[in-house]
Symmetry: C3
C-alpha cells in the first residue's frame, strides 16, 4: 500500500464507529433481575449521590472574622458579704478579662480577690503545705500547686494561729482559696448581652456575607434579643448570656459558681445555586464540649493589677471564675459545577456494568439453559498456544486454520 | 469429569481472554458524531479535569503559626486639645492592647480617657438616662447600655448642671462619650510598621516554609517595607499600617476615627511538583470583610488600669477605638499522586461510553436503516418465559429448541 | 401497529436483558497479559485505594476547644543580680501575660524591667540615635525603631555621660535594652507544668471526645506528668514545659534566653468503625515551625503596668522574652460510608477496561494472526456514505442491500 493509501486510512478513522454486538435475551426471569438491579443503581446515583448529597455541586469553605461586645452592669449588695466584694458596681472593665480575645470572650462570674500583696515571706496556705517542724519544709523548693518557694521554716498561719505551715517566699499575704458566697457573686450576669459581629467570605465563590443583614436597622439592633423560637429574633445578633447557656442545656447560675467553657458555633451552610440572600448563619450552642464533666471541671485563671505603694510594688490578685465563650465559625457553600457531576455520573455508569455482571452469572451458571446462552454470547477462538482442556480440544486450533 | 479435569479447567482460566465483539460501522454521518463526542470528553478530562484543575495531584492543607510585632511612636501636640490627650508620647505599651493576641493585633487610633474613677454614686450620662423626677429612675435596675445600676434618685448632672439624670451606682465620674478631636487622635499611626512572622507546615508532605526567606538578610528585614507593586518589596514581611489599609481600598485616616476590622489573608498556594523554593506566601487584604457597613460600624472596646489612691481603688477607663487586624492563613499544596489521577481517568473512561450510547441512539432509532443496524448489533434470543409481543413471536422460543 | 401493540412493547422492555457478545480467546500469551493487568488493577483498587487509604470511609473534620492552665513559681536569688529582678518570687500572675489567650499561652522566661517611667523629655538610647550636634536630630520625627519623637536637641545620656544622643519626647527614662543575666532569668520555668484541656466534636458523626479520659481519676490528674515513652503517662494532660521543649528537639534553657515560638499539635485520628474509646488524641511538638532560624529569631513583646504617683501617671515597662506555645488541634475521623466505596469501585471497574484495551492492542496489532482475530471481533458494516478506502470497498455498501 502506498502513502496515499495510509493517508486514506488515517482519514477513514474519523468516519468509523464501533458499537458492541449484543445478545438481546427476552426472558421474564432474567429481565426482571436486570431491571431491578439497574433501577437500584440509578436510584442510588441520581437520588442519593446527586440529589440528596448534592453531587452536582462543588463545595468551598469559608474565611471568617468575629468580634464581640459585651454590655451590662451588676451592683452587689448582699448582707454579710465581705466588703471587698460588696456595695460595688461591676462593669465591662471589671468582668471582661482580657479586654478582647480573638474568637473568644470571658465573662467573670465569681472571683476571689487578694488585695495588697507585696513580695516577702509568709506562711503558705495550710491546705497546701502544712508542717509540724521545719523538717517538713525543704528550702528552695516550690510548694506543689502552691504560691511560692519554701524558706525552710515552719511557722504559724496568721488567719488561724493554731495551724502551722511552711514559710514561703511569695506575694504576701497568700491567697485564701475560698469563694465569697455559696452561689456565684455575679450570677445576675445572665442578663448581660453580647453582640456578635461575624463577617465571612467564601473565597472560591468570591461572595461575602455578614450575620448583620441589610434588612435590619439600627433600632432593631439595639432592641432585639436572640430567641431560637422566633423567626425574626432568631436572626438577632445580640444574645443574652443566660439564653446562650439555656440553649446549650445549661443552668447559668450553677455554671457561674465554678465557671465553664461554652462553644458558640456559627454555621454557614449555603447553596449558591439559590438566591445569595438565603445564605444566612445559624447559631448552635454545644453543651457537652465544655470541660465540665466530673474531672477537671470548671474554668478559672489568675491575673493581677500592679501598682506602687510608695516604693513598694503592690498588687491585687484576682482568681477569676467565669464562663469562657469560644466562638467557632464553620461552614461551606456549594454551587453547580460540572466536575463533581461528571465524576459522579462516570462512576454511576461504571456501576451499571454490575447489573450485566450479575445477570451474566445467572444466565451462564444458574439457568438450565446455560449452555445455550453461553453459545450465543461467546464465540470461542483457540490460539495455537491454547491451554488444552482434554479431548474436546483435540481439533486443530482455529487460529491455525488457513483463512 | 474427574478432579484432574476440574484442575485443568481452573488453570485454563489464567490463559483466557475475553474481548467484546464489535460492529464496526463505516459511516461518515455517525462516525463524525462519534468522534466529536469522544473528542469533547477527552478534551474535558485531559484539559480541564487533569491539567487545568490539577486532577493528577493530591492536595493537602497547612498548619500555621503567626506572630506580630508593631513598632512606632506618636507625639500628640494639638493646640486646644484636652491636656489628658496632649503633649504626650504614645508608644507600643500604650496603643497595643492586649499586648499580644493569637492571630490578631489591635492598634488604638482614637481614645476616650476617663481618669480617676472610684466606686460611688453619681449622675448617669444624661444622653443615656435623663429624668425629670425620681419616678423615672427604678432603683436596682441597670441603665440600658449604660454605666451602672440606678439608686432611684434623680439628680443634676455636674458637667452641665441644667441637665438632670438618674443617679447610679458606678465607677464615678462616669465616662463622657465624646471623642477628643474630630479627626483620629492617633491618625499618624498609619506610618507604624508591623512585622509578620509566619511559619507553616504542610503535614501531608512534611514540608516547612516561612514567609522570611533564606535569601533575605538582617539589613533587608530592617529597611524593607511591603509594596505590592515591587517584585522584591512584595516579599518584605514588614508592613506599614497605612499601606495595609490602602491595599484594602480603605482610607486609614477615616477608618481611624471610629475604628474597624481588617483581615490580612496570607495565602500559600504551592505546587510541590515544582521547586519547593517557589512555594512562597502571598498577602491579600480584604476590604469588605470589615464590619464597617452602615450598621454597627466601627470597632471599640473598653479596658482600665487599676491602682490605689491611699486605700481607695481607683482606675483610668479607656474606651479604645482602633483597627483590629485579623490574620488568617490559608493554603494548600498539591503533589502528583496516583489515586486522584486514577480516579479521574477511571471516570473519564466511563464517560467515553456516553459517545457509544449517543451514536447507538442515532443508529438504532433515527437513521432510515435502523432495522438493518439493529439486526447487525443484536442477536435476539427468546427464552421459554419470554413476554410475547404478537404474531412475530409465534414461533417456538429459541432456548427451547434442542441443540 | 395499534396502541395495544405499543403498550405490549413498553411492558416487554422490563423483561429484556442485554449482554455483550464476547470473543473468548484461549491463548496462553494473551491470557497471561490479560490476567496480570487485571490483577494489578484489582490489587491497586482493593489493596491501596480501598484498604490502605480507607476508600470505604467517609471522612469528617473536628471542632475543638482548648483551655490551658500553667502552674509553678520561681524565686530568683543570684548574687550580683540587679535588685529589680532579685530576691523575688515570680508566679502565674507575673509570668503569664496576657492572663489567657485563645489557643495559645505565653510563659515569660526573661525580662527587661524599666520602672518608674513618666511622660517627659529625655535622651534616647545612644545605640538607637547617637548625635554630635542638634543637626543630627530632626524635631518631630520618631527615632527609627526607637522609643519616642525627637525634640531637635542633642543631649548627654545620663547613664553614660560621655555619650550624647538625641533628646526625645518619651516615657522617661527610656528602656536600656540589656538583659539582666547571660542566661535566662527564669530558666527554671522548665519545671512549670501546663494542664491542657481539649474537647473535640466530630460534627459529621455527632461524637464528642476529651483528652481527659473517663478512665482517669482526680489523683492521676494531679500527679501524672506527660512522658512520650510511657504508655500511661503518654495520655497524661499535664506537661512539663521542659519536656515539651525537649520533645521538639529544643534546649529549653537556650531557647529561654531570647524566647521563641513552639507549636503543640494535638491530633485526633479516629476510626469510628472501631470502638469509639480507641479514639484518643496524640500530642506532637513541632520543632522547626518556630521562627528561631537565623533571621528574626526569638520572641518578645512589651507591656506595661500603669498607676499614678500623686497626679503623675507612671508605669513599669516590661520587655518580656519568653516562649509562646501555640496549640493547634487537627484531626479527622472516618466511618464506613457507601458513597466513597461506590465511587472507588466504580472507578475501579472502569479501570478494568484498561486490561481489555491493552490485550486488544496485542491481539489486533502485534500478533501474527491479527487479521484472524480482527475478523472474529469485528463485523464490518458499510453505510452508503462510508468513506471508501480503495479496491476492497468497491462492492455495494451493506446497508444499501435489500433485506
Amino acid at each position: 500500500m502506498g502513502v496515499l493509501s495510509y493517508a486514506r486510512r488515517g482519514v477513514a478513522v474519523f468516519f468509523e464507529y464501533d458499537t458492541p454486538r449484543i445478545v438481546h435475551i427476552r426472558s421474564k426471569k432474567v429481565g426482571v433481575i436486570n431491571r431491578i438491579i439497574q433501577f437500584l443503581i440509578v436510584a442510588y446515583i441520581v437520588g442519593y449521590v446527586i440529589i440528596y448529597s448534592k453531587g452536582y455541586q462543588k463545595f468551598g469553605g469559608i474565611d471568617s472574622a468575629v468580634t464581640t461586645k459585651v454590655k451590662g452592669t451588676i451592683y452587689t449588695n448582699v448582707s454579710g458579704l465581705d466588703p471587698l466584694y460588696n456595695n460595688r458596681i461591676w462593669d465591662v472593665g471589671d468582668y471582661i478579662q482580657p479586654a478582647q480575645e480573638n474568637g473568644a470572650f470571658f465573662v467573670m462570674t465569681n472571683v476571689i480577690i487578694t488585695p495588697n500583696q507585696t513580695q516577702g515571706e509568709c506562711a503558705e496556705d495550710p491546705a497546701i503545705m502544712p508542717c509540724d517542724t521545719a523538717d517538713n519544709c525543704t528550702a528552695g523548693e516550690q510548694t506543689p500547686n502552691g504560691n511560692g518557694v519554701m524558706t525552710g521554716e515552719c511557722v504559724s498561719y496568721p488567719p488561724e494561729p493554731t495551724l502551722r505551715s511552711c514559710e514561703i517566699h511569695a506575694w504576701c499575704p497568700v491567697e485564701l482559696d475560698e469563694l465569697p458566697l455559696e452561689e456565684a457573686l455575679l450570677k445576675n450576669s445572665s442578663v448581660f448581652t453580647v453582640l456578635l459581629k461575624n463577617s465571612v467570605e467564601f473565597p472560591q465563590f468570591g461572595i461575602k456575607r455578614r450575620n448583620i443583614l441589610n434588612t435590619m436597622d439600627s433600632e432593631f439592633l439595639h432592641k432585639c434579643r436572640y430567641d431560637p423560637n422566633n423567626a425574626t429574633a432568631k436572626l438577632c445578633p445580640v444574645f443574652e448570656l443566660g439564653v446562650l447557656a439555656s440553649s446549650a442545656g445549661q443552668d447559668y447560675a450553677k455554671m457561674a459558681i465554678k465557671g465553664g467553657v461554652m462553644e458558640i458555633v456559627i454555621t454557614w451552610d449555603c447553596n449558591f445555586d439559590r438566591d445569595v440572600h438565603e445564605c444566612i448563619s445559624a447559631i448552635q450552642l454545644l453543651p457537652s464540649r465544655r470541660p465540665n464533666d466530673e474531672l477537671a471541671k470548671g474554668y478559672n485563671f489568675r491575673y493581677a493589677h500592679y501598682y506602687y505603694t510608695g516604693d513598694v510594688q503592690t498588687r491585687v490578685l484576682y482568681k477569676a471564675y467565669g464562663i469562657r465563650f469560644m466562638i467557632s465559625v464553620t461552614g461551606q457553600a456549594g454551587k453547580f459545577n460540572i466536575i463533581p457531576l461528571a465524576t459522579n455520573i462516570g462512576a454511576g455508569l461504571a456501576l451499571l456494568g454490575i447489573a450485566t455482571i450479575c445477570c451474566d452469572v445467572v444466565v451462564l451458571y444458574l439457568l438450565n439453559k446455560r449452555d445455550f446462552y453461553y453459545e450465543k454470547k461467546y464465540l470461542t477462538v483457540k490460539d495455537q498456544d491454547a491451554f488444552l482442556l482434554g479431548e474436546e480440544d483435540n481439533g486443530p486450533p482455529d487460529a491455525g486454520s488457513t483463512r
